[in-house]
C-alpha cells in the first residue's frame, strides 16, 4: 500500500500517462454515446408511441450485456476480416472508444428516458400552450431534466472508465497506445505485481468520487 502511494506521488511517467489515456478514452466514448443516446432517450421518455415499451425493454436488455460479449461482437465487426475492417480500428484507440461507446449507449438512453418520464406531465402541456416550437420544446425539456442528464453522464463515464473487457479485447493492452488503467491492473495481476495495480485502483476510486461530486455540484448549483 505504501509503495502504491509512493508510485503515484513520485509522478511515475508511465503510470500517469496511462491514467490520462484512460480518461481520454472515457471522455470520447461518453461523448459519442451521448450524441445519439440523449435524443434516443428523449424520444423514448416522451409521448407514447407504438413499440415504445418494446424498445425500452431492448435498451434495458442491452444494459445487462457483459463487456466481454460487447467486445466479442465489436471484434467481429472491426477485425480486418470483418465488415468494418477497412477502418483499421482493431487494437487502436478508436476501437476501444467505439466499443466503450457501444457499451455506454444503452446507459445514456435509459437514464435519460427514466429521468424524462419522471417530469411533471403538466410541464409538457404548459410549454405547448405557451406556443413553443419543437426545437424550443426539446431545449426546455432537457433543461428541466438536467439532473437526469447529469446522472446519465456520471453513470456512463463511470462505467466506461471502470470496464476492462472491451478495452482488453479491442485494444489488446498495447503499451503506450491502448493500455488503460484497468488493463494495466489486469496485467499487473498476471505478473503478480500488485503495487501499481493498487495505485491505479486508488486513482480509479478518486476519479469516480471527483466526477460524481463535480457533476452533482454543477446540477445543484443550477437549481
Amino acid at each position: 500500500m505504501k509503495e502504491a502511494f509512493l508510485l503515484l506521488a513520485s509522478g511515475d511517467a508511465e503510470t500517469w500517462a496511462t491514467v490520462l489515456r484512460s480518461l481520454r478514452f472515457s471522455f470520447f466514448s461518453t461523448l459519442f454515446a451521448l450524441i445519439p443516446g440523449i435524443p434516443a432517450g428523449v424520444a423514448l421518455g416522451g409521448r407514447d408511441f407504438r413499440g415504445r415499451r418494446s424498445l425500452i425493454a431492448v435498451v434495458n436488455a442491452l444494459m445487462a450485456l457483459p463487456t466481454v460479449v460487447i467486445g466479442l461482437f465489436i471484434y467481429t465487426l472491426i477485425s480486418r476480416s470483418g465488415p468494418l475492417g477497412f477502418m483499421s480500428l482493431m487494437y487502436e484507440p478508436g476501437g476501444v472508444v467505439f466499443g466503450q461507446a457501444f457499451l455506454a449507449f444503452p446507459i445514456v438512453v435509459s437514464t435519460t428516458q427514466v429521468g424524462l418520464s419522471k417530469l411533471d406531465p403538466r410541464f409538457r402541456e404548459t410549454i405547448l400552450t405557451l406556443g413553443a416550437g419543437p426545437w424550443r420544446r426539446l431545449v426546455s425539456t432537457l433543461f428541466e431534466a438536467r439532473a437526469a442528464l447529469v446522472a446519465a453522464v456520471v453513470a456512463t463515464f463511470g462505467r466506461v472508465t471502470g470496464e476492462v473487457g472491451v478495452s482488453m479485447m479491442l485494444g489488446g493492452n498495447i503499451r503506450g497506445t491502448t493500455r488503460t488503467m484497468t488493463t494495466t491492473i489486469a496485467l499487473d495481476y498476471n505478473k503478480g505485481e500488485f503495487d501499481r495495480a493498487v495505485s491505479l485502483g486508488l486513482v480509479l476510486l478518486v476519479i469516480a468520487l471527483v466526477v460524481n461530486l463535480a457533476l452533482h455540484a454543477l446540477a445543484s448549483h443550477e437549481d
Partner: protein, 274 residues
C-alpha cells in the same frame, strides 16, 4: 445547432489525430503489430530487446500478448503483421493453410514441472516428464492447467497423451484459462503442480514457494518461431516491417541480445547454432 456541429467535427478530427499519431521515422509504415505469447512479454524479454530494434530501424512495435493459439488466430484474421509463438504443430498448420508468408526459428528454452516443496506425488524421482505426470495422476494431487490453447497448454496436453492419461474433468485437474503468471500464482496458493515455461518461471519465482521438480526431458523442449502474416491474404498489413523484425531478431544483433537477457543472473532463452 451549427456551433454544436462544429464542436462534433473538431472532436472527430481530434479523435482521428490521436488515433493516427505516430513518430515520423524512416520506414513508410513505422507501426508494426506483433501478436505473441504471454511468456515473451511477462518474462520481460520483449521490453528488453525491442527498443534496440526500434532504434536500429525506426519501426515502432506494438505488442499484443495473448498466448500462442490466440496470436495465430489474430494473424489469421489479419489483425497483426507478425507473430512470435511457441507451438510448432500449430505454426506448421498456420503456414500450410497459407496464413503465413515466412517462418524462422528464433530461440528456445524448456518447460519445467513445478510443484510444492513437499512434493506429495513424489515426482522428483521420476525419470521422464510422462512418468512425473503419471505419478501426479496416481496420487490425485492438484494440477493447474492453462487450459487456454497456449503453447504451454498444447505441450501439456501432448505429455498427458503420451502418458496415456485423460485428466480432463477429473477433480484434481483444474483448467483455469489464465496466462502463465496467474497459473504459477494459483499453483502457489493451492500448493499444486503445474507445467511452466522457464522464462516466466524465472520472472515469477521470487513470489512463490514452488520448486522445479522435473526438468531436462527431451519432450520439454520449447522452441519459439517468428512468422510474418501473408500479405497475399491481407494486402494492407505491414509486411516490410514484419520481415524487418524477422530478419533483425534472427540476425546478429537480435540474437546477441536474446542470449544476453538474464533474470536474477539466469539465462532465459537459448540460441540455435546458425
Amino acid at each position: 445547432m451549427r456551433r454544436f456541429g462544429i464542436l462534433v467535427l473538431v472532436l472527430a478530427l481530434a479523435m482521428g489525430a490521436f488515433a493516427q499519431a505516430s513518430p515520423a521515422a524512416a520506414p513508410a509504415t513505422p507501426r508494426l503489430r506483433l501478436a505473441t505469447t504471454t511468456s515473451t512479454e511477462q518474462s520481460g524479454l520483449l521490453a528488453y530487446i525491442l527498443p534496440y530494434f526500434e532504434k536500429a530501424t525506426g519501426y515502432k512495435v506494438e505488442v499484443v500478448a495473448v498466448g500462442t493459439g490466440a496470436s495465430l488466430k489474430i494473424g489469421e484474421k489479419g489483425d497483426c503483421d507478425v507473430v512470435l509463438v511457441h507451438a510448432r504443430a500449430l505454426e506448421d498448420a498456420f503456414m500450410a493453410n497459407g496464413f503465413g508468408a515466412d517462418r524462422k526459428d528464433v530461440m528456445y528454452n524448456d518447460f519445467i514441472i513445478l510443484g510444492p516443496a513437499k512434493d506429495p506425488a513424489g515426482i522428483a524421482k521420476a525419470k521422464s516428464a510422462t512418468e512425473a505426470l503419471a505419478l501426479i495422476s496416481k496420487a490425485g494431487s492438484s494440477f493447474i492447467s492453462r487450459g487456454d490453447n497456449s503453447g504451454t497448454d498444447v505441450k501439456e496436453k501432448d505429455i498427458w497423451k503420451a502418458a496415456g492419461i485423460a485428466p480432463k474433468g477429473l477433480a484434481w485437474y483444474k483448467e483455469t484459462g489464465q496466462g502463465m503468471g496467474p497459473v504459477i500464482m494459483m499453483a502457489n496458493e493451492l500448493q499444486a503442480y503445474t507445467l511452466a515455461d522457464r522464462a516466466t518461471w524465472l520472472a515469477m519465482k521470487d513470489k512463490t514457494t514452488l520448486r522445479i521438480l522435473s526438468q531436462g526431458d527431451a519432450v520439454l523442449f520449447n522452441p519459439y518461431g517468428i512468422i510474418t502474416v501473408s500479405p497475399a491474404k491481407w494486402p494492407t498489413i505491414n509486411y516490410a516491417g514484419a520481415k524487418a523484425l524477422m530478419d533483425w531478431i534472427t540476425g546478429p544483433e537480435g540474437q546477441a541480445l536474446i542470449a544476453s537477457y538474464r533474470i536474477g543472473g539466469e539465462q532465459c532463452f537459448y540460441l540455435y547454432k546458425r
